[in-house]
């Protein structure tokens, strides 16, 4: 006969675990010897190893108890379920490995790939990292609120970049975020471009250059949320 320590060592579990199994009724309490020590036979070892095997496979102890007094077909079915669960878990961990690798690669995993592609496109155009960060933050907020809309919008955003004036606007705004001064001639150019693009949208896309002063007053009302420049506004 075996003591609890011998049993536990043989089954590859801790003494504490065995006692826990007793407590919850998973493993029946054995006879005690004269001094009150638990005294185990071979059946207990067989049972305990079964329990350990299932527990290591992630089966909750309650379910193990259920399995142990289930009939043969039910047991086999349970085993099938456990195997499926193990396979799923392995797949999940494989996925997790990839995610974690992305994380260390500096990729933030935070945006859908289409948006990432769009931001990469902006980077190619020459947009500053500061402004890109703003873009990204804006897209995150937008994606969080309208997850499925974003995928629809991105093609339009790509299309806008076909217009060289939009590209130029991004470049100018980008340059502005890099420099400290505000009375730069770039500011004028930016305003011009904004006005022009805003007016196009307003008047159904067919209005040539308007006088600077007239449009500036109109555009000042538009500036707070210039939807042409992306979700984050101007990222100032």
């Amino acid at each position: 006969m075996l003591t609890i320590g011998q049993l536990a060592a043989y089954a590859g579990v801790t003494v504490r675990a065995v006692r826990h199994y007793h407590q919850i009724g998973l493993l029946p309490e054995p006879e005690r010897d004269a001094s009150g020590y638990r005294s185990y036979g071979a059946q207990a070892a067989v049972l305990l190893i079964k329990i350990r095997t299932l527990a290591e496979a992630g089966v909750p102890l309650g379910r193990i108890a259920w399995m142990l007094d289930a009939d043969e077909p039910a047991f086999a079915e349970a085993i099938e379920g456990i195997d499926a669960h193990l396979r799923a878990e392995i797949d999940r961990l494989e996925g997790s490995r990839k995610q974690v690798a992305q994380l260390s690669a500096g990729n933030s995993l935070v945006l859908p790939p289409q948006v990432v592609a769009y931001i990469d496109r902006l980077r190619e155009i020459g947009v500053s990292e500061r402004m890109l960060a703003g873009e990204r933050d804006g897209w995150i907020l937008v994606s969080a609120r309208w997850p499925d809309k974003v995928v629809e919008w991105i093609p339009d955003k790509f299309a806008q970049l076909e217009d060289p004036r939009v590209v130029r606007l991004y470049q100018v705004l980008s340059a502005l975020t890099e420099t400290e001064g505000t009375d730069d001639p770039l500011v004028m150019e930016a305003v011009d471009l904004l006005v022009e693009l805003a007016c196009i949208r307003d008047r159904s896309s067919t209005t040539p250059r308007t006088s600077r002063t007239r449009c500036r007053t109109r555009c000042s009302t538009i500036l707070p949320t210039p939807s042409t420049t992306g979700p984050s506004g101007c990222a100032t």
Copy 2:
């Protein structure tokens, strides 16, 4: 700005988890709006997704906190550790799948393969399942107490089976466990064989047949633990 529900949904975690991360200081508490609701920005989403990614990889939250304010090389090293851990975990689960499959195959996984081979050999010889069960139980107890000795003993046990009288003894005892009666002629044969084999061991292996009566008295003292028949005694 996002509410806690929007943030949680975007990051793929529960609201409760986000609050928990606040509680333990893993995610900083954001500003509140007029009504006391938490109001999150994009940075929080980035951070939360980082946290979720690591948490799903099995990294304890305390360690995640540590990682989040570690420098670049330390972070990279931690990621390497996490990946190693994930690989190990995947391997463990693969192993677990095999073990569980064994379990459903009826294999009890409880004995070292050498012992299993020995018991299979006994089965070939024609030993009854009842007696095999006894053998197995005995070996389990022995293996539990002297795990490394067992591997040494098994070759001897195999060698004993070379002797046709030992084989016959097993068969006879086996037949006895199957039948109910005790005054069977098989009993006499079993005793004869036991006596003979026991005497051989006693007198250094060179004593011919002794008279039945003389040996029987001697053997009766040996019967309780006849070491020739395996660890479980006679498995009565």
